[in-house]
Amino acid sequence: MPRVYLDHASAAPWHPAALAATLHVATELPGDPARAHAEGRAARDLLEAARAAVAGALGAGAAGVAFTSGGTEAVHLAVRGVAASRPGRIVSSAVEHTAVHAAADATGAEHVLVGVDRLGRVDLDALAATLRGGAALVNLQHANHEVGTLQPVAEAAALCREAGALLHVDACQTAGRMPVDLAALGADLVSVSGAKFGAGRGIGALAWSPARASARCSPATSARGAAGRAWSTSPASPRWPRRCSRWAPGWRRRRRAATACAGACAAGWPRSPDVEVHGPDGVAAPHIVAASALYVEGQALLAELDRTGFAVHSGSSCATTSGEPSHVLVAMGALTHGHVRASLGPGVGEPEVDAFAAAVTAAVTTLRTRAGVAAG
């Protein structure tokens, strides 16, 4: 079997439509969209069509989308933008992506973390209690990047509204895979990453709710002030529109397929004794399956799978050798060694999933044998 790529949650292959749109911009649209000549107008027309397409897909107002260089910049724009215009505490779940925690810490505002349960879901009672102390902004991811857990965003949104806090939802793992809609989520801001779902590298977006498009939560306003107009007029951004319009009708079918594959993949895990599968059944992002195996080192497991033809991610780093163990696994009270995350995408079907389940079992057995330990 050719190599099986199971790291779509880190970077997904380009969708052909995104590639075609980018090629079109590179070869046919030389103009700067900020200029008044015909070439500039042509670029601007496509840019604004892209903005309208993304706004439509995410349920934002026409003026409520800023293009960024990727998910990280979108997150920083959201957090720093809100912090610049609204004084107050920032509250984040303990399992947010490092970019969210880093952005909040960088603002200088008080940053409060709220814990999660064994499945990685934010503790809503603790969130409510924290919000009683006041907050300007709450950061809550749509789905966790390491274990796939979907957060109770609507419930958190109700708490935020009650407390007068804005809600920023990091949807980098769900955009392009599940519906992401500002109103349905109850979010004020949503950040997305193109690289994660095939829209191409170097592209992301921050969208904000039309209901909240006033000065008090317009991050682009402060971003423009800080960094000129580059945020919203990046010439790279026209690559997005076709992807959005062409992918939208097919997502339900792809989601069903991905969910079926993820289910089969998870079902394969318990064949390895002493393996803990992470995240809840049924309320996880369809593309992420994660588990931890006792008695094996995560990076060694990654290397063994890589050697046998499977690309996966591991959130396990021995604290003594290569830094900190995953803050997500620590917050969940999960095993921090032996973690592997497989994330599915186009081209991963049942044969690949079956082969992967067998390969994981073999790799875990190999490593345990090498360490002189038998599970059971």
Partner: protein, 75 residues
Amino acid sequence: MGGVVVDALGESCPVPVIMLARAVAGVAVGTEVVVVSDDPGAALDIPVWCRMKNQTYLGEEPAPAGRRYRVRRAT
């Protein structure tokens, strides 16, 4: 009942947990096993091992080097 002490100083994850599993397998139910470890991962993974393997985690305490993690064989 006499306990067992496992010296895992200098070992990094997952070795302290492997040593704990071996030691627990070799003692009678009710016996306490103490792992002495200076690996930060042990503080996280020894309690999780106890949960996964239905053993009793009694807690941790400082040691001259590293920390002592106390486990009682329950099954």
